[in-house]
């Protein structure tokens, strides 16, 4: 048995790679499920509404918020990655751009979350 080695202490770039990869995988699996449940519209309105109805729980609302967060992070970081490969300026400022990604992400979530949670928990 070999003893635990340390975790490599990469900087922002490495962690954003981890984030990008995990969010990408998460979104992919969500998408599989999402297409399947949407496909129920082809079966019957009742079937669809039943499944969708069961999604309208607080737990699912939080999962949904997580999904939006994942997409936002993945998308903004995707733009950063594209920029880094295209422009030397972006490449040299990639660490600042990581902060830009997080700030953009924060703004989006601040705008989205209250309204979404209102919808989800605010009754109706």
């Amino acid at each position: 048995m070999s003893p635990a080695t340390t975790l490599y202490r990469g900087h922002e770039g490495m962690w954003m790679w981890v984030v990008h990869r995990t969010t990408g995988i998460a979104i992919f699996f969500f998408l599989l499920v999402h297409v399947l449940d949407t496909a129920l519209v082809r079966v019957s309105p009742e079937a669809y509404n039943e499944v969708i109805g069961s999604y309208k729980t607080p737990l699912y609302a939080i999962i949904e918020a997580g999904l939006v967060a994942a997409i936002a992070l993945h998308a903004f970081n995707g733009l950063r990655v594209i920029a880094v490969d295209r422009s030397t300026w972006a490449l040299r400022h990639q660490r600042q751009l990581v902060w830009a990604v997080w700030i953009g992400f924060a703004i989006l979530m601040l705008g989205f979350l209250p309204r979404h949670l209102m919808h989800a928990f605010g009754g109706a």
Binding site: Y8, G10, G13, L91, R92
Partner: protein, 255 residues
């Protein structure tokens, strides 16, 4: 022995201190009753000056405490590329890392670089790394008759690949790359740096042969811009930039 172990220039000003090194050992022979191939952490405490390098501390251990500790080193000032290792969980050259730049309050962890087979303690098998380097045909390729005098090259053209000529093949970049760790099939950033040095040399005519190789499965597209390589390079080479320039050459079809 290194002279730094003794009082360096600003002697009076340099306080001495006690540092602990926590080293990941690998014993291929199975000495002192260990299983051959056992891996274990071992701590050593040495007296050092703040201006000493990690290499000096390793030497103190090897020379005065435990002669079995094995690591590579030669030049001791960051130009030969022998002593890349993981110090406090980051790839660095032991001879270029001053103790004072690490937090001496906690043990300094020292491990072999990651992703290459360990042979003994901090020594890894460098063959796969050099094989990738050889793969990209790192030598000038020209056609036509050899000129009598030098091939001319403007200072501007010379500047285009200056950065990547600095590479000392230390492997700090390649073994810091999370993609390289995953399956070990990626050529790794160093091979791209090595290719870049020739692709952007105006005298060279083999750029498309090399680009062809880097266009492969194990090539440049594996890079996920994690930037560990650039941050690890002891020569300050903008490795990710070089990789980007190679990608750009491949997408635009022009060098």
């Amino acid at each position: 022995m290194t002279a730094t172990a003794e009082a360096p220039a600003k002697a009076g000003a340099v306080p001495s201190m006690t540092v602990t090194l926590k080293i990941l050992r690998f014993d291929p022979d199975g000495l002192d009753g260990r299983e051959p191939g056992s891996e274990y952490w071992e701590e050593f405490t040495v007296e050092a000056h703040a201006t000493d390098r990690v290499l000096d501390a390793l030497h103190k251990i090897k020379w005065d405490i435990d002669g079995t500790l094995a690591f590579r080193r030669s030049c001791a000032h960051g130009v030969c590329g022998s002593d890349a290792m993981r110090i406090n969980a980051r790839n660095r050259l032991a001879c270029k890392t001053l103790l004072k730049d690490l937090n001496p309050a906690r043990p300094i962890t020292v491990e072999p670089i990651k992703g290459l087979p360990v042979e003994k303690d901090l020594i890894v098998d460098m063959e796969p790394f050099f094989a990738s380097y050889r793969e990209i045909m790192p030598f000038l390729m020209t056609s036509g008759p050899t000129p009598e005098r030098e091939r001319l090259q403007s200072p501007e053209d010379r500047a285009k690949f200056d950065d990547t000529t600095k590479c000392i093949l230390c492997a700090a970049c390649t073994t810091s790359c999370p993609v390289f760790w995953t399956d070990g099939q990626y050529f790794g950033p160093q091979a791209i740096v090595g290719a870049h040095r020739f692709i952007f040399d105006s005298r060279d005519e083999g750029e498309w042969d090399r680009l062809e190789i880097l266009n492969d499965k194990a090539g440049v597209w594996k890079c996920r811009t994690a930037f560990n390589c650039t941050e690890a390079c002891p020569r300050g080479i903008e490795v990710t930039k070089a990789i980007s320039e190679v990608k750009r050459a491949l997408t635009t079809g022009t060098v």
